[in-house]
Symmetry: C2
Amino acid sequence: MRSIIIASTSTIHGSGYLEYLLEELKVHFKTVNEILFIPYARPGGISHSDYTAIAAKAFKTIGKTVKGIHEFDSAEDAIKQAEGIFVGGGNTFVLVSQLYKNNALTAIKNAVNSGTPYLGTSAGSNICGLTMHTTNDMPIMYPPSFKTIGLVPFNINPHYLDPIAGSTHMGETRETRIKEFHTYNTQPVIGLREGSWIKVSGKTLTLKGTLEARIFEQGKAPYEIASNSNLEFLK
Amino acid sequence: MRSIIIASTSTIHGSGYLEYLLEELKVHFKTVNEILFIPYARPGGISHSDYTAIAAKAFKTIGKTVKGIHEFDSAEDAIKQAEGIFVGGGNTFVLVSQLYKNNALTAIKNAVNSGTPYLGTSAGSNICGLTMHTTNDMPIMYPPSFKTIGLVPFNINPHYLDPIAGSTHMGETRETRIKEFHTYNTQPVIGLREGSWIKVSGKTLTLKGTLEARIFEQGKAPYEIASNSNLEFLK
């Protein structure tokens, strides 16, 4: 049975790395002793080893060990054999470039569809959507494609930000950007605020966390959905 | 002699489209009667015609007519024959995709190097840099390359935004994003705040407007440069 957590962020303001999710992760990775961490997104350009150490420290508090994918000879084999997978945040362009380079996208898809529990945060959540067209990241690397895994039949916009009232900045709001996306693309987008996540259990998709999420569908006005909403209508 | 204006934004808060630049544009387009407008970036998904009408309205106030590139059979020929060129803002991914599709990048480079005066705002400024790796836009379209015209030997970050003091949002600041860019890329980046522009006259590059700009060089701490600074050191 598929078991996936797609989180807006790894860290909420004023709290440690993954801290707000740990109770959920205890259940999610219940049968898992060692988690395969994919640090390819390298937030701030951090090394794969240093990033893996951060993930390992958080998971240690719930009794799990973590091994970085860069420690294996074959990324594909590491994914095939993993008990559980965690893809961390950072830059989605860097992440997707590295996943393509290591033939990891199909391997992750197959593993997750076979029941390997998956956790994605931020960039690691973007890749669960159909494409990475709705990432917020700066395009610092050119990936061979914007197509991602498609574990859910829509796109993710993590770290969703509401327009800032009274802002004098002329750059586009997040909502304007997603509206532009729908000029050229048809799939729905879910704007996940920091602290929200999507829980996939088999065929059931649920919005979790305390906040509402914002839904963008082509040709419709955007709207809010409540926490614990079923997301299966979204395709 | 090359004559280029690379502006952070078309519009500053509380002012009309191009209004803050009109005095400068009178001089910049002094010898020009009709300006070729390239509306490919389509802000908010606006049509080429509607976007051209906005540009035409602004330029009418200084006695210039505007014709959209979509009104010509050949974009390349339109650029070759243009008296002056204006590439408007919107989405850089859409703009660059359309420029490649219409073989317009080389045509613009040749025209500008032959002396055709050029104005770029926002996305139209991004393409003056070496690459579009430092755009702020959402990647809603997949261009065949991130390589842009390289009218200047560095990258542009338009709408540069300082970190917001006291923000609780966990998404990256602009400075963090540009630092990540320098993990994988070597060229300097200029963060142009709204209201700033770069004026290129022959070989002279100058920062214009009243604000400072922020310079990012690989392996150095970012620093500010004053208005009217010469930018020729930046390469």
